[in-house]
Amino acid sequence: MTPLRRLLEEESWEPVELRTEEIFINMGPQHPSTHGVLRLVLRARGEVVTEVVPYIGYLHRCAEKIGENVAAQQWIPYTDRMDYLAAMNMNLGWALTVEKLLGLEVPERGRHLRVILVELDRIASHLVAVGTYALDLGSFTPFMYCFREREKILNLFEWASGARLTYSFIAIGGARADLPSGWVEACHQFLDELGPALAEIHDLLTTNAIFVHRTAGVGVLAPSTAIAYGCTGPVLRGSGVAWDLRRVGEPIYSRMYQDYEFQIAAPDATGRYPDAAKLPSPPKKAVVGDCWHRYFVRMYEMEQSAKIVRQALDKYTASSGPVGQPIKHTHKLPRGEAYLETECPKGQMGFFVVGNDSPIPHRVRARSSSFCNLSVLSELCRGALIADIPAILGSLDIVLGEVDR
């Protein structure tokens, strides 16, 4: 009997069982890829995450309560700070809600001006979403390319409104000012430069094998789940639901877009996009509703928004007259209530206002799309790897200013 065999047959020898434990990991609020002050508690078994619980509220600023203490027009700057990456869209949402309550009509030129501004801001917001998404996946360079393009939009906005991030430019009743002369030409030039820049990002990300491996088939969100959780915007459309308030919203909002040609960015059941012959086709691994499609919906939407802005610039130049007169701070809101949802870059942002024969609203409420989109995170992250958490969270594209308000 060899010594080894003797050792193995000794009775005192027992197989050692490896003890594995679940660990709780606190991700955030100071974490590089939680997109702000979001805290996630992960329950993990090694690299596999069994449960993700988001904790929010770190950026709560009582915006709604403040809205009940200032005039409707004065609340515009507070809407800027909700989705601060798409402040024009926030301004528009609130302005339209109050206009709906007041029964106010904005002149045609003002409507086209608003379309130009919100669609440009949609591009800016999606550029940040795509850029930071690349960052979440460990690729630094596309982030810089996206921010280079976004910078041009911010310069345009700065030229028009004086601000680079929180514009407060779209006001109840119209806009603060008309566009400065030369702006339209500069905007055309930007749109010409955007196409090649997007092609560059398609090269670096959309068709990159590692990127496809990291996103395709990861975090698949079924359409029914998306609807059940109230997901909207690119998160909903990425699951193949062609739902866009710019087409199906309330008349006061969808009327702004009725003469515009554009496609709703949503894949069909086979993962094909309408009119996407020039764009890269979806990889074989991609499933409708996964991170890749949510990312691609944003890329697609940028092209469509650029198309809308081109049309809007033409319509704006062709039209004449005022862009609308912002209402005075002392303008009384009639008794009654109004609720309106608009299609913001992150999803459907809703505002609710109750008037009380006073310039100061009786009640103000904001329905955040990021909040609903974030709530589906625990559903998507079950059984994912730790590396997938930033990939899934990034694809939801939340902004904490809007989640917490």
Binding site: I25, P32, M144, L204, N208, F211, D388
Partner: protein, 337 residues
């Protein structure tokens, strides 16, 4: 004599690392449409690394209360020692060798593995979960990639019949077609597997999982600050240059240029004068630098792989390819020589 060599080498290696850190910032900036450092030192920010070093040295020394104080302190220096030990056996030209070893290739593989301990210790001793996961990833990743790396390194060893790196270099005299990379299809394959495995064992992007900034904050480096962090950083760049240098020596013709020029240009000449050695060292240094620039270029272009993909790449592609290159080279040598 070895001690003197080591002292000279230490200065050289730290200078190279400082240059590489600056180069990484400049190249990254150019790739990203930025300027990078422009001010320190007058132009091009060429003194940026010195400024960084001063900053890092004057930072507060923080050791988390949860950390194991001794292991936490040991880890960065172990990383530095592991990276630096490579240079003891790496020849720069025929006569510029700090210590000529008969089994240099084996020695390099052995000391190269030391770095795993440094990162594993750093990750374990930090007392942070992010660090722990980073350390574990390092263990999984680097131990797996050592195998294809060793198999690839065996290819030039077979071709030259020796483990002495100086002799391996000497075997590649005479133009680009005598470089081991172009000797036969299998060694060509081995070179590319070597590039992949080397990048992975250095934890460079797209294999930078142990420090994965967007997932693990900074992985094993999360709790490190000041000089200890600097030591990790320095050792990363030192190891980068070392592994490129090794690649240049064993695959890319070592100190021989692509075109066999005769005297007085030195490349490929027989005489053993100091001028020749200097030119040879410059040649191999430039090849290694090119390798590092490629690594930087890759890092700033690609997203990061996921841990399961990293293992797939290693076990499904690198390992069989390296084995094929190894066996193929053996057969090639048997049939053709």
């Amino acid at each position: 004599m070895v001690l003197v060599n080591c002292a000279v080498l230490l200065v050289f290696v730290i200078t190279v690392a400082a240059f590489l850190i600056w180069a990484e910032r400049k190249v990254a900036a150019r790739i990203q449409d930025r300027l990078g450092p422009t001010r320190v030192g007058g132009r091009f920010g060429w003194l940026q690394s010195v400024a960084d070093a001063i900053k890092v040295l004057t930072k507060e020394d923080i050791i988390p209360t949860q950390a194991d104080p001794i292991l936490f302190r040991t880890a960065p220096y172990l990383a530095f020692v592991a990276a630096f030990s490579w240079y003891i056996a790496l020849p720069f030209s025929r006569n510029l060798v700090p210590a000529r070893l008969e089994v240099a290739a084996l020695f390099l593989l052995a000391v190269g593995s030391l770095e795993i301990y440094a990162i594993l210790l750093g990750g374990y001793a930090s007392g942070s979960k992010w660090s722990l996961i980073g350390g574990m990833r390092e263990a999984v990743q680097v131990i797996s990639y050592e195998i294809p790396l060793a198999l690839c390194l065996a290819v030039p060893v077979i071709l030259s019949g020796t483990m002495d790196l100086v002799a391996i270099g000497e075997h590649q005299r005479g133009g680009i077609w005598s470089w081991f990379m172009f000797r036969n299809p299998f060694s060509f394959l081995a070179f590319w597997v070597y590039v992949t495995a080397a990048t992975a064992s250095l934890n460079r992007a797209p294999f930078d999982l142990p420090e994965a900034e967007s997932e693990l904050v900074s992985g094993y480096m999360t709790e490190y600050s000041g000089f200890r962090w600097g030591a990790f950083m320095l050792s990363e760049y030192i190891a980068m240059f070392a592994i490129s240098l090794l690649g240049a020596i064993v695959f890319l013709g070592a100190w021989y240029g692509p075109i066999p020029l005769t005297q007085p240009f030195g490349f490929g000449s027989d005489s053993a004068n100091g001028f020749d050695d200097l030119l040879g060292a410059l040649t191999v240094g430039m090849k290694a630098m090119l390798g590092v620039i490629v690594m930087i270029w890759v890092r700033w272009s690609l997203p990061r792989l996921r841990i399961d993909h990293v293992m797939t790449v290693c076990l499904k592609y690198c390992m069989p390819l390296a084995a094929a290159a190894f066996v193929g080279t053996l057969l090639w040598q048997t049939v053709f020589s």
